[in-house]
Subunit: 450 residues, 2 copies
């Protein structure tokens, strides 16, 4: 089925060796000519070269095994990031480098913009009710299940810890799901739109939940009580942004592009589109939402009709212009995400039971989402699976938990933290193959009973 | 000739207002929702949006005035970077932001790779002798003229200062010239190849001169003498790299791409090409050369025949894949370079005379380069003008000079430093229009006397 010839295997080994050699070189300090100026970009370009090559090798292996390329990139990242277990302590430098981190963040922004471009606001509004219900169920059910699991397995922890563990289960990593839909060429299906819309709303709801839980715990610590006004303001701001961005963006975008179409110099369409995406990402970040929410909204708002003037004079389609940029930056994001996955979390005693229970709660809880879809003829299993990956959002939640303290003591202990990380890793890694299976099953069902 | 209608002016004003507003927003700290996680990428995307929009407006105005777009980008940068003179102290944040700085450095690497792709090693070897002679003359003559000017105008400074000022005149900013050739669509002419080859060799020679001068000064300071072995090693390493990179690269590239052509996943050609460019850039940086030397060598080495397998199965040409990436990153480089231009250097008393003398020495000295061209039928004036801009290389030199001390005293005083900066600014800003004039003159001569 796969059919690697020994010659191909030799080639793959050759390329792997080159990657390993480059890694060794990173750890060797560069001895510059005496008195010469060493450009700091040297280190960054070496890291980028290693990430790009490793991502392509991982993506290729995954593709040959019939899996989405993103799974290969994640696993290549996990492998490289955990090389220190095997004695290569130096590779961690990549995952913690601030420039690589920033390029990864730019990467996920470009990815969500690209994915947003594949749908329009109108198409999204059509599935708006389902997406909203899916998001609400996807926040409530996993949180309750996670809270129950924590109460059952770590009864000695404080009630705040139970609440917090529950809250960490509500996240959805829209990056993973978006990329899988893209890899499998189904980003324009109704299922994909519902899941992506729900994941974006989920990001907003998750923020609200996190702010409220953090507020309750901070209030408990200081002996004061949480102001309802604060909770309300958080919700209003977050909800207001999504609708505001879509409404204002839809009015501004046509004017912006009509204005820009008078500029005749090279690359105007790309520059203005990226500036639009970046401005909305910044706006989302400025009110405390994830910037990717803004990037997705920017992609939804931009429609072909807005930049018709450019394509009519022979310029490339916007999607085609974005693709090379995402080919450079997006693998950086998934590689870094893989590299930050700490496999040693699985090896701590007392972690496995809680990790298993949280993972089951995380997966089953999101399956309830499928039931919330109001449209007919939708593959509910695909919707449920699409909501499963916690990805980087889950890790951000878990890290914030370590910082929340009551009476000077962190409410989440190390074993619980490791269990949450394990849950995030498993839900993230199983989604690409599970989503592919579910989509194929749907296709088979459609062809056998037309 | 230019023909701005009042409606167009109103539009331009509208866009400028939007840019100004965005600048104001940068200076306002973002108030995130309480307890929420503010993504550090927010600031970076806002800055990128501002840089992209301002670069396009500047580039457009320059294009409409018949100038290369890069002049507009530089001047837009100068304008924004010197807004603090007008009371906007906050804008400087962009020019000093480490992430923007890194993106700018990536930008010039991508630019030189792109420019390198437009020529092949064979084409470059054909003009190799001329390029080498042009580079040598371009280092020697301006340095001697600069040394004479410094001796004449600041006779009280130490002889080391005179030597150092002379050395700062030997640099050539290959970025500026490459971009002007690209803007004017003449990057494949023999003149462009000679200038680009010479500028790259000049980068190597400049490094040697700088290392030697710095070594002499450091030896004078410590009372020891400079080892000839050190000088020889610096020269050997630098020269070895250029030939080594071209020779090894030309052997490795075909194998690398044959190997990569077996990978079927999306974006392999771009990823492998960029990784190749990044690895050579890193190698150049690791031995103390500017990374752009490696990027240019990578571009020269890669030829269409290496990735024929990809284009034959319908993938885009490499040049087309790189273009969107350079459209995102390259303007960042020129905007930042403009923003770092300190106009207040011109306003210091006692600076103007020296600045004028150095500028004349810098321009006339490089005109001697044209005489070194051995080919017939070459526009020698274009070659001479192409070598004029000092750009970022000149600024790096000047900054290193501030750090060189004899007896605890910096050998370059502030007035001399400002004069060097002024010389760098003027040579950089006059090159785009001067090169365009010279190229047009050449074209006219060619059409009137065929």
């Amino acid at each position: 089925m796969i059919g690697f010839s020994s010659r191909r295997l030799a080639r793959a080994a050759w390329l792997s060796c080159a990657v390993a050699l480059a890694f060794e070189l990173i750890s060797t300090p560069a001895h510059a000519a005496d008195g010469a100026h060493v450009d700091p970009v040297s280190r960054v370009v070496l890291m980028l070269a290693v990430l790009l090559l490793a991502a392509k090798v991982g993506g290729e292996l995954a593709t040959r095994l019939g899996q989405p390329a993103v799974l290969g990139e994640l696993l290549a990242g996990v492998l490289l990031g955990n090389l220190d277990l095997m004695g290569f302590a130096s590779v961690e430098a990549i995952a913690t480098d601030p420039m690589i981190d920033m390029l990864a963040r730019l990467g996920v922004i470009v990815l969500l913009f690209e994915v947003g471009l594949e749908s329009t606001v109108n198409q999204m509004m059509k599935v708006g009710l389902s997406a909203f219900l899916v998001a609400v169920i996807g926040v409530v059910v996993p949180s309750v299940l996670g809270w129950l699991a924590a109460r059952w397995l770590v009864p000695d922890a404080s009630p705040y810890a139970h609440v917090f563990v529950g809250a960490t289960l509500c996240a959805t990593s829209v990056g993973i799901t978006a990329r899988v839909f893209q890899d499998l060429n189904v980003a324009k299906t109704t299922e994909a739109r519902i899941v992506l819309g729900a994941a974006v709303i989920d990001d907003v709801l998750g923020l609200v939940v996190l702010a409220v839980v953090a507020g309750i715990i901070a209030a408990a610590d200081s002996g004061t009580s949480l102001s309802y006004l604060d909770i309300f303001l958080t919700i209003a701001k977050a909800a207001g942004f999504l609708f505001g961005a879509l409404a204002i963006g839809a009015r501004v975008a046509p004017q912006l592009f009509r204005l820009a179409s008078h500029l005749k110099s090279r690359g105007v369409l790309l520059a203005v589109s990226l500036a639009f995406c970046f401005l909305l990402s910044w706006a989302a970040g400025a009110i405390g939402l994830a910037p990717i929410v803004g990037a997705f909204a920017a992609g939804l708002v931009l429609e072909h009709v807005h930049y018709r003037d450019f394509t009519e004079r022979g310029e490339h389609e916007l999607e085609e212009l974005i693709r090379p940029i995402s080919a450079l930056l997006v693998p950086v994001f998934f590689m870094v995400m893989g590299m930050r996955t700490d496999l040693s979390a699985f090896m701590q005693p007392g972690v496995l039971g809680l990790a298993a229970a949280l993972t089951v709660a995380a997966i089953l809880g999101k399956q309830a989402c499928g039931l919330a879809v109001v449209e007919r003829g939708i593959d509910r299993l695909t919707v449920g699976i699409g909501m499963v990956p916690r990805g980087e959002v889950g890790l951000i939640f878990a890290n914030l938990g370590l910082g929340l303290k009551v009476g000077g003591k962190s409410i989440v202990d190390n074993a619980t933290y490791s269990a949450i990380v394990a849950m995030v890793v498993i839900t993230t890694l199983i989604t690409p193959p599970a989503l592919r299976l579910s989509l194929n099953r749907g296709k088979r069902a459609a062809t056998t009973s037309p």
